[in-house]
């Protein structure tokens, strides 16, 4: 009965990722996409917080949105899985409910 939580905003700009990590139950999954991919990158002010949250959640990030912003799949935090839109669809079917943190 796990939820897929999606976050489409940068953690620098909005509190969506923070709220998600506060209210998502341990064992859930989190998919970062659109400007949310910024939260998946290494060496940012938020990287450590996300890396710590990986104890509780499985993290995924949408590759196409990483590339659009000139960022590099190789610089994604270790352990976050990069997916494409097909992977996004699969994630929704593999979870029971999808919650979008708008």
């Amino acid at each position: 009965m796990a939820i897929l939580h999606t976050v489409n905003k940068s953690p620098f700009e909005r509190n969506a990722l923070e709220s998600c990590l506060r209210l998502a139950k341990a064992g859930s999954s989190v998919l970062l996409f659109e400007d949310g991919v910024i939260g998946a990158m290494r060496n940012t002010r938020f990287s450590e917080k996300v890396a710590q949250a990986m104890d509780d959640y499985s993290f995924y990030v949408l590759g196409p949105d990483i590339q659009a912003r000139g960022l590099d799949n190789d610089k994604v935090i270790d352990g976050i899985q990069v997916v494409d839109y097909n992977g996004f669809v699969d994630l929704t079917t593999e979870h029971d409910t999808v919650q979008s943190w708008l």
Binding site: I3, S19, L23, A24, K25, T97, Q99, S100, W101, L102
Partner: protein
């Protein structure tokens, strides 16, 4: 009702935005009022700046916008009686339950006794409530 032959799902409406600055609070309420006509299991969640939607004494004359805050007190008439407010969100904003409208419903199984429909819940409990839902709509 035009739903799928007696399917009852747990529907959760999560409200995280302050009212008036954007329309999400109002249009969320419009969804909830329609949703009430379907026989589904409805919960409302107010967290982050969404807690400001429920404050008492909203006065919108000077900004020229329609004050829709009274509609929340009508939710009980629509049989919506599980309204959860995150305690920590209130506290971080210097608010307490006293700053919010008292939301009630009349319990038909208990001689129409008036009962609270608003529950201030702690973070962990709220996470558990959200985790049990079948369908979540976020505003």
């Amino acid at each position: 009702m035009e739903n799928g032959e007696g399917v009852v799902k747990k529907f959760c409406y999560i409200n995280r935005k302050a009212p008036y600055g954007t329309i999400y609070a109002l249009e969320s309420l419009e969804v909830v009022l329609i949703a009430a006509a379907f026989d589904q299991d409805i919960s409302l969640v107010f967290a982050d700046d969404g807690v400001y939607q429920l404050t008492k004494g909203q006065a919108t004359e000077a900004i020229g916008m329609k004050n829709f805050s009274k509609t929340y007190s009508a939710l009980g008439d629509y049989d919506i009686k599980k309204i959860y407010v995150e305690k920590e969100s209130l506290e971080e904003r210097g608010l307490s339950a006293e700053d919010l409208q008292a939301l009630k419903y009349e319990d038909e199984d208990d001689d129409w006794a008036e009962k609270d429909s608003l529950f201030v819940v702690e973070r962990d409990e709220l996470a558990g409530i959200i985790d049990e839902q079948d369908v979540i709509l976020s505003f």
